[in-house]
Protein backbone atom coordinates (compact mmCIF):
# COMPACT_ATOMS: atom_id res chain seq x y z
CA UNK A 1 0.00 0.00 0.00
CA UNK A 2 2.80 2.34 0.96
CA UNK A 3 4.54 1.55 -2.31
CA UNK A 4 1.49 2.57 -4.32
CA UNK A 5 1.22 5.88 -2.51
CA UNK A 6 4.92 6.59 -2.89
CA UNK A 7 5.05 5.67 -6.55
CA UNK A 8 1.75 7.02 -7.78
CA UNK A 9 2.94 7.67 -11.34
CA UNK A 10 4.40 4.20 -11.63
CA UNK A 11 1.25 2.50 -10.35
CA UNK A 12 -0.91 4.62 -12.62
CA UNK A 13 1.20 3.51 -15.55
CA UNK A 14 0.85 -0.14 -14.51
CA UNK A 15 -2.91 0.24 -14.20
CA UNK A 16 -3.15 1.85 -17.65
CA UNK A 17 -1.11 -0.92 -19.23
CA UNK A 18 -3.17 -3.64 -17.57
CA UNK A 19 -6.48 -2.03 -18.46
CA UNK A 20 -5.25 -1.40 -22.00
CA UNK A 21 -4.12 -4.96 -22.41
CA UNK A 22 -7.30 -6.55 -21.02
CA UNK A 23 -9.80 -4.29 -22.76
CA UNK A 24 -7.80 -4.13 -25.99
CA UNK A 25 -7.44 -7.89 -26.30
CA UNK A 26 -11.11 -8.42 -25.52
CA UNK A 27 -12.21 -5.76 -28.02
CA UNK A 28 -9.95 -7.15 -30.73
CA UNK A 29 -11.10 -10.72 -30.27
CA UNK A 30 -14.75 -9.70 -30.38
CA UNK A 31 -14.17 -7.53 -33.41
CA UNK A 32 -12.42 -10.33 -35.32
CA UNK A 33 -15.27 -12.71 -34.50
CA UNK A 34 -17.80 -10.25 -35.88
CA UNK A 35 -15.68 -9.56 -38.97
CA UNK A 36 -15.33 -13.27 -39.74
CA UNK A 37 -19.01 -14.07 -39.37
CA UNK A 38 -20.06 -11.10 -41.49
CA UNK A 39 -17.50 -11.94 -44.16
CA UNK A 40 -18.84 -15.48 -44.29
CA UNK A 41 -22.39 -14.17 -44.67
CA UNK A 42 -21.42 -11.89 -47.56
CA UNK A 43 -19.21 -14.34 -49.40
CA UNK A 44 -21.59 -14.58 -52.35
CA UNK A 45 -21.42 -10.86 -52.99
CA UNK A 46 -18.80 -9.99 -55.58
CA UNK A 47 -16.38 -7.14 -55.05
CA UNK A 48 -13.46 -6.47 -57.33
CA UNK A 49 -10.88 -3.80 -57.65
CA UNK A 50 -10.70 -3.94 -61.41
CA UNK A 51 -12.81 -1.91 -63.75
CA UNK A 52 -15.44 -4.10 -65.27
CA UNK A 53 -16.90 -3.67 -68.71
CA UNK A 54 -20.39 -5.00 -69.20
CA UNK A 55 -22.22 -6.04 -72.33
CA UNK A 56 -24.69 -3.50 -73.61
CA UNK A 57 -28.02 -3.48 -71.87
CA UNK A 58 -26.68 -5.55 -69.00
CA UNK A 59 -26.38 -2.75 -66.44
CA UNK A 60 -29.49 -1.21 -65.01
CA UNK A 61 -28.08 1.26 -62.57
CA UNK A 62 -24.82 2.33 -60.97
CA UNK A 63 -23.97 4.42 -57.95
CA UNK A 64 -21.11 4.95 -55.57
CA UNK A 65 -20.92 3.24 -52.19
CA UNK A 66 -18.46 3.76 -49.39
CA UNK A 67 -17.68 2.51 -45.94
CA UNK A 68 -15.24 3.73 -43.35
CA UNK A 69 -13.97 2.84 -39.93
CA UNK A 70 -11.75 4.59 -37.43
CA UNK A 71 -10.01 2.10 -35.18
CA UNK A 72 -7.77 3.03 -32.32
CA UNK A 73 -4.98 1.10 -30.68
CA UNK A 74 -4.87 0.39 -26.95
CA UNK A 75 -2.33 1.60 -24.43
CA UNK A 76 -0.52 -1.72 -24.10
CA UNK A 77 0.00 -2.16 -27.81
CA UNK A 78 1.18 1.38 -28.20
CA UNK A 79 3.84 0.60 -25.62
CA UNK A 80 4.80 -2.55 -27.51
CA UNK A 81 5.13 -0.56 -30.70
CA UNK A 82 7.37 2.01 -29.04
CA UNK A 83 9.61 -0.81 -27.79
CA UNK A 84 9.57 -2.29 -31.26
CA UNK A 85 10.83 1.01 -32.59
CA UNK A 86 14.07 0.46 -30.75
CA UNK A 87 14.84 -2.98 -32.15
CA UNK A 88 13.08 -2.78 -35.47
CA UNK A 89 11.17 -5.56 -37.19
CA UNK A 90 7.53 -6.46 -37.57
CA UNK A 91 5.20 -4.31 -35.54
CA UNK A 92 2.49 -6.90 -35.04
CA UNK A 93 0.41 -4.61 -32.85
CA UNK A 94 -0.20 -2.23 -35.73
CA UNK A 95 -0.65 -4.95 -38.32
CA UNK A 96 -3.80 -6.20 -36.69
CA UNK A 97 -5.01 -2.61 -36.25
CA UNK A 98 -4.92 -1.72 -39.93
CA UNK A 99 -6.15 -5.17 -40.92
CA UNK A 100 -9.23 -4.77 -38.74
CA UNK A 101 -9.91 -1.27 -39.98
CA UNK A 102 -9.60 -2.30 -43.61
CA UNK A 103 -11.81 -5.34 -43.35
CA UNK A 104 -14.38 -3.41 -41.36
CA UNK A 105 -14.47 -0.64 -43.97
CA UNK A 106 -14.92 -3.12 -46.81
CA UNK A 107 -17.69 -4.87 -44.90
CA UNK A 108 -19.52 -1.60 -44.32
CA UNK A 109 -19.24 -0.72 -47.96
CA UNK A 110 -20.65 -4.13 -48.91
CA UNK A 111 -23.48 -3.67 -46.44
CA UNK A 112 -24.40 -0.33 -47.97
CA UNK A 113 -24.30 -1.85 -51.45
CA UNK A 114 -26.47 -4.77 -50.37
CA UNK A 115 -29.10 -2.62 -48.67
CA UNK A 116 -29.31 -0.46 -51.79
CA UNK A 117 -29.88 -3.55 -53.90
CA UNK A 118 -26.59 -3.80 -55.78
CA UNK A 119 -25.43 -7.00 -57.50
CA UNK A 120 -21.73 -6.30 -57.40
CA UNK A 121 -19.14 -3.66 -56.62
CA UNK A 122 -16.43 -2.80 -59.09
CA UNK A 123 -13.32 -0.66 -58.86
CA UNK A 124 -12.84 -0.88 -55.13
CA UNK A 125 -10.35 1.62 -53.75
CA UNK A 126 -8.90 1.77 -50.26
CA UNK A 127 -7.66 4.91 -48.60
CA UNK A 128 -5.82 4.96 -45.29
CA UNK A 129 -5.29 8.02 -43.15
CA UNK A 130 -3.82 8.56 -39.72
CA UNK A 131 -6.11 10.77 -37.72
CA UNK A 132 -4.49 13.80 -36.14
CA UNK A 133 -5.41 13.68 -32.48
CA UNK A 134 -3.81 13.82 -29.09
CA UNK A 135 -2.23 10.41 -29.56
CA UNK A 136 -0.57 11.61 -32.71
CA UNK A 137 1.10 14.60 -31.15
CA UNK A 138 4.52 13.03 -31.07
CA UNK A 139 4.19 11.64 -34.53
CA UNK A 140 2.91 8.30 -33.33
CA UNK A 141 -0.15 6.88 -34.96
CA UNK A 142 -2.83 6.27 -32.37
CA UNK A 143 -5.75 5.61 -34.62
CA UNK A 144 -6.20 4.87 -38.24
CA UNK A 145 -9.05 5.60 -40.61
CA UNK A 146 -9.72 3.42 -43.58
CA UNK A 147 -12.13 4.34 -46.32
CA UNK A 148 -13.32 1.81 -48.86
CA UNK A 149 -15.25 3.01 -51.87
CA UNK A 150 -16.36 1.60 -55.14
CA UNK A 151 -19.04 1.65 -57.79
CA UNK A 152 -22.02 -0.55 -57.08
CA UNK A 153 -23.81 -1.96 -60.09
CA UNK A 154 -27.28 -3.41 -60.43
CA UNK A 155 -27.78 -5.74 -63.36
CA UNK A 156 -30.76 -6.44 -65.54
CA UNK A 157 -31.92 -9.95 -64.79
CA UNK A 158 -31.71 -12.13 -67.87
Amino acid sequence: MEFIVNHLDLSLFAVLVTVGYAAGTFAERRHYASILSRERAQRQFQVMNAEAYFAEGRVKNSFMVSGSAVISIDYFKRLLAILRNIFGGRVKAYESLVDRARREAILRMKEEALTRGADMVVNLRLETAAIGNAANRRGRIGSVEVLAYGTAVTLNKT
Binding site: Y75, V122, G132
Partner: protein, 104 residues
Protein backbone atom coordinates in the same frame (compact mmCIF):
# COMPACT_ATOMS: atom_id res chain seq x y z
CA UNK B 1 -26.76 12.83 -60.43
CA UNK B 2 -24.81 9.67 -61.07
CA UNK B 3 -21.53 9.32 -59.24
CA UNK B 4 -19.09 6.51 -60.04
CA UNK B 5 -15.42 5.89 -59.48
CA UNK B 6 -14.85 4.01 -62.74
CA UNK B 7 -13.91 6.00 -65.80
CA UNK B 8 -17.25 5.53 -67.47
CA UNK B 9 -20.84 5.15 -66.40
CA UNK B 10 -21.66 1.45 -66.72
CA UNK B 11 -24.28 0.92 -69.37
CA UNK B 12 -24.41 4.52 -70.58
CA UNK B 13 -22.62 6.45 -73.27
CA UNK B 14 -20.70 9.61 -72.43
CA UNK B 15 -21.74 12.49 -74.63
CA UNK B 16 -19.64 15.33 -73.32
CA UNK B 17 -16.81 16.02 -70.85
CA UNK B 18 -16.79 19.13 -68.69
CA UNK B 19 -13.48 18.70 -66.87
CA UNK B 20 -12.63 18.38 -63.22
CA UNK B 21 -15.02 19.22 -60.43
CA UNK B 22 -14.11 19.16 -56.78
CA UNK B 23 -15.47 19.62 -53.32
CA UNK B 24 -13.75 19.84 -49.99
CA UNK B 25 -14.50 20.49 -46.38
CA UNK B 26 -12.38 20.98 -43.28
CA UNK B 27 -13.83 19.64 -40.08
CA UNK B 28 -12.86 19.56 -36.46
CA UNK B 29 -14.42 17.66 -33.62
CA UNK B 30 -15.75 19.35 -30.55
CA UNK B 31 -13.82 18.97 -27.33
CA UNK B 32 -16.21 16.45 -25.83
CA UNK B 33 -15.64 14.03 -28.63
CA UNK B 34 -11.91 14.57 -28.40
CA UNK B 35 -11.91 13.71 -24.73
CA UNK B 36 -14.03 10.64 -25.34
CA UNK B 37 -11.68 9.59 -28.09
CA UNK B 38 -8.62 9.97 -25.89
CA UNK B 39 -10.27 7.66 -23.36
CA UNK B 40 -11.04 5.19 -26.10
CA UNK B 41 -7.42 5.45 -27.16
CA UNK B 42 -6.54 3.79 -23.90
CA UNK B 43 -8.58 0.66 -24.38
CA UNK B 44 -8.57 0.49 -28.15
CA UNK B 45 -11.46 -0.20 -30.45
CA UNK B 46 -13.55 1.83 -32.82
CA UNK B 47 -13.86 5.58 -32.39
CA UNK B 48 -17.50 5.91 -33.45
CA UNK B 49 -17.55 9.68 -33.10
CA UNK B 50 -14.74 10.06 -35.59
CA UNK B 51 -16.22 7.55 -38.01
CA UNK B 52 -19.46 9.52 -38.06
CA UNK B 53 -17.71 12.84 -38.35
CA UNK B 54 -15.63 11.75 -41.30
CA UNK B 55 -18.59 10.12 -42.99
CA UNK B 56 -20.62 13.33 -42.69
CA UNK B 57 -17.73 15.41 -43.92
CA UNK B 58 -17.20 13.15 -46.88
CA UNK B 59 -20.86 13.38 -47.81
CA UNK B 60 -20.62 17.15 -47.69
CA UNK B 61 -17.53 17.15 -49.91
CA UNK B 62 -19.32 14.89 -52.41
CA UNK B 63 -22.33 17.16 -52.32
CA UNK B 64 -20.24 20.23 -53.07
CA UNK B 65 -18.64 18.38 -55.93
CA UNK B 66 -21.98 17.39 -57.44
CA UNK B 67 -23.29 20.94 -57.02
CA UNK B 68 -20.37 22.19 -59.03
CA UNK B 69 -21.00 19.55 -61.67
CA UNK B 70 -24.65 20.53 -61.88
CA UNK B 71 -23.70 24.15 -62.45
CA UNK B 72 -21.65 23.04 -65.44
CA UNK B 73 -24.68 21.23 -66.85
CA UNK B 74 -23.40 17.73 -66.19
CA UNK B 75 -25.58 14.86 -65.06
CA UNK B 76 -22.86 12.52 -63.83
CA UNK B 77 -19.44 12.62 -62.17
CA UNK B 78 -17.05 9.82 -63.07
CA UNK B 79 -13.68 8.68 -61.76
CA UNK B 80 -14.28 10.13 -58.31
CA UNK B 81 -11.38 9.96 -55.85
CA UNK B 82 -11.28 10.77 -52.18
CA UNK B 83 -8.36 12.22 -50.29
CA UNK B 84 -7.85 13.02 -46.63
CA UNK B 85 -5.27 15.25 -45.03
CA UNK B 86 -4.94 16.53 -41.50
CA UNK B 87 -4.50 20.25 -41.87
CA UNK B 88 -4.00 21.12 -38.22
CA UNK B 89 -4.12 19.47 -34.84
CA UNK B 90 -7.54 17.89 -34.54
CA UNK B 91 -8.83 19.06 -37.90
CA UNK B 92 -9.10 17.04 -41.06
CA UNK B 93 -9.63 18.04 -44.64
CA UNK B 94 -11.73 15.79 -46.82
CA UNK B 95 -11.54 16.21 -50.48
CA UNK B 96 -13.43 14.66 -53.37
CA UNK B 97 -12.74 15.19 -57.03
CA UNK B 98 -13.89 13.76 -60.31
CA UNK B 99 -14.71 14.47 -63.91
CA UNK B 100 -18.07 15.97 -64.77
CA UNK B 101 -19.70 14.46 -67.82
CA UNK B 102 -22.97 14.39 -69.67
CA UNK B 103 -24.36 10.92 -70.25
CA UNK B 104 -27.35 9.84 -72.24
Amino acid sequence: MIVTNVNHVPGRKILEHYGIVQGSTVRAKHVGRDIMASFKNLVGGELKGYTELLQEAREEATQRMTTQARQLGANAVINVRFATSSVAQGAAELFAYGTAVLVE
